[in-house]
């Protein structure tokens, strides 16, 4: 079917469109900051918005694989690298917000946070684990590592995603409605993978 496997030209256009869409959260935040419309606590707002979009892009990045298995659509997999890099991009903005705006390079405070604050203990390594994934995202690095090792390395995205959702869950005061939504979606995305791995018919597929 045509929709399952689009030609390069169309995928290229979709990719360009998604690229522009993915910049909208940053654009909105920048305009808000420029106009001074980020509320009474702009640093908290920037931190929350960048964190929210990191998690959202992470979940979107994990979607093409189960989608292909369930529907047979293969073209979204070709957007996966770009989506993963956007996850890393918003993750970097989130981490820099913490480092510069929130803590202002208070290394002592940051170290204490990492050791003592469970949500940072789990969030910081989740951020770090994205770095090797971003570095090895190029075709060249993929070739140099070889498919087997590259795939093995990139299974890091699973603990990273779980860490990200737990990070969010542990930091909210007591309204868990948003973290629960992220947890359920992640559960579906990871659960589908497990089901396909266990099913004999799923064998041989990536």
């Amino acid at each position: 079917m045509a929709i399952k496997n689009l030609d390069n030209k169309i995928v290229g256009r979709i990719k360009a469109g998604v690229f522009l869409l993915a910049l909208i959260p940053l654009l909105k935040l920048s305009i808000g900051a420029y106009l001074g419309k980020l509320g009474a606590n702009p640093i908290e707002k920037i931190s929350h918005v960048t964190g929210y979009w990191t998690l959202t892009f992470l979940l979107i990045t994990l979607t093409p694989t189960p989608l292909r298995r369930l529907s047979g659509w293969s073209w979204p997999v070709r957007l996966r690298r770009m989506l993963g890099l956007f996850t890393f991009f918003y993750g970097c903005l989130h981490f820099l917000t913490y480092l510069v705006l929130d803590q202002f390079f208070d290394w002592d405070g940051i170290l204490k946070d990492i050791v003592k604050r469970p949500y940072i203990t789990v969030g910081f390594p989740a951020f770090l684990s994205m770095i090797p994934l971003a570095i090895t995202s190029t075709d060249n690095m993929m070739r140099r590592l070889g498919g087997k090792y590259w795939r093995l390395l990139h299974t890091l995205v699973y603990p990273c995603a779980i860490g990200g959702v737990v990070h969010y869950w542990w930091l909210v005061k007591n309204d868990l409605s948003n973290p629960i939504i992220f947890a359920v979606l992640l559960g579906i995305l990871l659960g589908t993978r497990v089901v396909y791995r266990l099913r004999p018919t799923g064998q041989g597929k990536q």
């Binding site: 009474a40 204490k112 542990w170 930091l171």
Partner: protein
């Protein structure tokens, strides 16, 4: 009661007088204009206080702008987002309103809000407000010590604690349709905390009646405790022999204790309380013991293990 004495303030914290008055004048002008725009006509007519009793107390710190005080609130009765109360508190009806004072008292009474407004001279108290989430503001509240009200109902010898009960009406308070807290909102104090001259029964801010999102028409302000201790939109005050269980204690007994005194040395289980971000400032500042009111209130907790009674 002993007249209340202002605490000693280090010279480094004192703003030069000329600058202080220039700021105050600016804030008053700006605040008045903003308030006129924000408040619906009905509340304007009911409020607008005239001459205020000269305050015996005022933190010599830059006031947080009214726009921030009225736009950034934790008031879960209107939603858990910081901007929810400003957007949704318009549905709260503050007249008629009464406050029932009952329990371990000789003269229980239901007070009409307009009688409370005339009960004692209103004074402006500029207090630091420290939220448990590690941000803070400086707010010019209007009110009088809670002790003024309590002495009128004559607490019995059994009155060891005071419980505050906020309005429970999901039709007016849409956030109460969620079960995020156990409604109605309940808070409490020990009787000596309740009688302390800093404990303010609060009816206004920035020279006018309380905006709905700040807990209209009547709320508590206990400046040495985290903000959530200061119950808003109060309809009941009960004097009790036993320590009441507050809404936040019920929700997270390991995270929120009965005392909830501001204490930089006792962290929230999930985050540090050593520093705070003053709204409007970039760098965090150190949180002060009892939010800077240690001279006045530390004796209330003499001999207590504050990490146990958090």
């Amino acid at each position: 009661m002993k007249p209340y004495k202002a605490p000693a303030i280090p010279a480094s914290e004192i703003t030069p007088k000329a600058l202080f008055y220039a700021r105050r004048k600016f804030m008053q002008t700006a605040g008045g204009a903003a308030l006129a725009a924000l408040l619906p006509q009905t509340t304007r007519a009911a409020g607008s206080f005239g001459d205020l009793k000269k305050s015996t107390y005022g933190a010599e710190e830059e006031l947080t702008p009214l726009t921030a005080i009225t736009a950034y609130n934790n008031f879960y009765e209107f939603g858990t987002g910081k901007e929810d109360p400003a957007a949704r508190a318009g549905s709260l009806k503050t007249r008629p309103w009464s406050v029932s004072v009952e329990g371990e008292v000789h003269k229980p009474k239901v007070f009409d809000i307009d009688d409370i407004l005339k009960m004692a001279p209103l004074e402006e108290r500029i207090y630091r407000l420290r939220c448990v989430e590690a941000w803070s503001m400086v707010v010019p509240w209007l009110g009088f010590p809670l002790a003024e009200l309590l002495k009128r109902v004559e607490p019995t010898g059994n009155a060891k604690y005071v419980e505050f009960v906020s309005l429970h009406d999901p039709a007016q308070m849409p956030g109460q349709k969620s079960t995020v807290l156990d409604w109605p909102y309940r808070e409490g104090l020990r009787i000596d905390e309740a009688m302390h001259p800093l404990t303010l029964l609060t009816l206004g801010l920035y020279g006018d009646v309380l905006p709905n999102q700040n807990g209209a028409p009547i709320r508590m302000v206990i400046p040495w405790k985290y903000g959530f201790k200061s119950a808003k939109s109060i309809v009941g005050i009960r004097l009790l022999e036993q320590q009441p269980v507050t809404s936040w204690m019920r929700t997270g007994p390991n995270e929120y204790g009965f005392y909830a005194n501001v204490n930089p040395e006792v962290d929230h289980p999930r985050w540090s309380q050593a520093k705070e971000r003053r709204i409007g400032e970039f760098l965090k500042r150190k949180t002060l013991m009892f939010n800077g009111y240690a001279d006045e209130v530390a004796p209330l907790y003499a001999g207590m293990d504050l990490s146990k009674y958090f």
